[in-house]
Amino acid sequence: METFVFDGTLEGLLTAVFYCYQKKSEKVKVVSSAHFHPDVFHQHFTVVSEDDKAKRVWAGLRKKLDPGWMLNIYKAFLSEQPQAFQHLLDFARYIIDHEQGAETNFGNSDVLAISQLEHKVHREKHRMEAFIRFQKTGDDIFYAHIEPDFNVLPLLIKHFKNRYADQKWIIYDLKRKYGLFYDLEKVEEIVFDFTEEMSPSLNALPARLLDEKEELYTILWKDYFKNVNIPARKNMKLHIRHVPKRYWKYLSEKQG
């Protein structure tokens, strides 16, 4: 078995698929350089990402798969799980080597793994669409930060751009240290140097930076959340299943 080490990007992974064919490899173990521990008994091959090689593999997959499945590949990749890279490589080879329609073979462990990874990432994306709580700042920007389990920011652009077409907004991923900024025209990637007063350890912005009405709507939202509850039906187990505790930090209605 050969070991391929790639740079952790989607482009790199697709380039690795290309080399599987060029080198006529049989079983290939794929590892991202971040997870790779070299050992003296095995040789490895370092994959250098190449745009045109990656594009050829992508185009090859697109001939066999519908746009939904192409998106599934991207979503599974955004899971950033080490085992996802292996499944993606094997899945790509399985699709290329077989007749059209092979992606519906849920008896194949890679097909199943991709569809399950996709499912997890999609759920996280959906959760972010639900749990993001904007605060309006003094300069009319709606700001929120999050720490999603997977790298879902790229998947959120369309949703928030369509929805909040007439307001400026920022969504910042504290874990991966980058964010999205919509300026009423387009969405751009941004990186902050956090100052002390806007520290990532705070779950909200300090009052000084906020719009004067922000406090009112936070209070009204908390009031509303309390008032729609029916105590006779209390079911904390279900509550926590729907709103896992790790997300509470950024939900204004769950703050004391």
Partner: protein, 418 residues
Amino acid sequence: MYERIREKLGILADAAKYDVSCSSSGSNRKNENKGLGDAEGTGICHTYTEDGRCVSLLKVLLTNHCIFDCAFCVSRRSNDIKRAAFSVEEVVELTINFYRRNYIEGLFLSSGIFKNADYTMERLVRIVKKLRTEERFNGYIHLKTIPGASEELLKEAGMYADRMSINLEMPTEAGLKILAPEKSHEEVKKPLGFIQKSITQFSDEKALIKHVPKFVPAGQSTQIVIGATPDTDKEIMHTANAFYKNFSLKRVYYSGYIPISNDSRLPVIGSQPPLIRENRLYQADWLMRFYGFNVQEILNDAHPNLDVDVDPKLSWALRHLEQFPVDVNTADYRMILRVPGIGVTSALKIVQARKFGRLYKDHLKKIGISFNKARHFIRYGDSPMQLKEYEAGHIKGIILAESHSKYQKNPHNQLSLF
């Protein structure tokens, strides 16, 4: 500061919460005017209350003043509670500001009846009109149809709302007559029928003309209160089925009655709401809508009530062991869907995957079926030889012993003796 608006929101959200619908899906309203909001596609639950219910919409009454005296309703005329009313501007501002902060998907607006039906409906329409036209709001709007309101007002409301609903309240006309003598199922059917007819008209026009305005794109729904009257599950589900068929409803909601009144016609305050029964009714509803079951198969004269200890699909299977086992490698999709422990997603995966080769236990487990439950009803590539036929009671015993019910043995408010 803020006390007045906080008090109003408190009263009017509290009074609206017994309407359980919180769906924000099924519309096709896109943000095409670079305005605020987008109600296309699947709904979003922005948070969940501590009772585990989804919060998707700002659900409020315009007012809880009401001229009616329905025994099951908190806002009934004779109930001694604080009353309040929002102004049109207040509802609009709350909706817009909650929406901009990503708290909600839109507005669910209902109201007590003050003065008369038209007067109330006219106020509701004014709010949604302002949201759509002045604020260019494209979020989801669920608007209550006020029984007895004029057809002109309903038609105007339908131009702005995504969903409209009107509640049947009690499963049977007789039950409704006892608790709300001023109301009838007839006056619910009339506006339901009118709006349904208008929806069809608009979609017919759409086939001919390109730009037809939207009219209630997410359809209509209704709600039935469970456990306030002695109706059987059969009566409830047959009523629901008739309304699904006759009025093309998108949803029927079942709301377990929460005792809020000392009226002798109703369960006493403090008694446990019928949560398990409510859950079983929703399961039966799903079987009708997504699993190809006929209401007669689930509930009939021989079985007028759903089992409490097992779900209705398992219950049906145990009553019809002659139709099992089902071979997952050969059976129709329709029959695979009827196996307890196999849902729609898994059933679809099974029929796709088996084209590539026989399916074994391992495949089925990975696909995600509830294998321990399903194994009594299926055959697969490596299923063990079955030496004897088990009888229904025995299978039920095994399944119950292996599973952990999500319901506690004793209700929360019942003290145990030891």
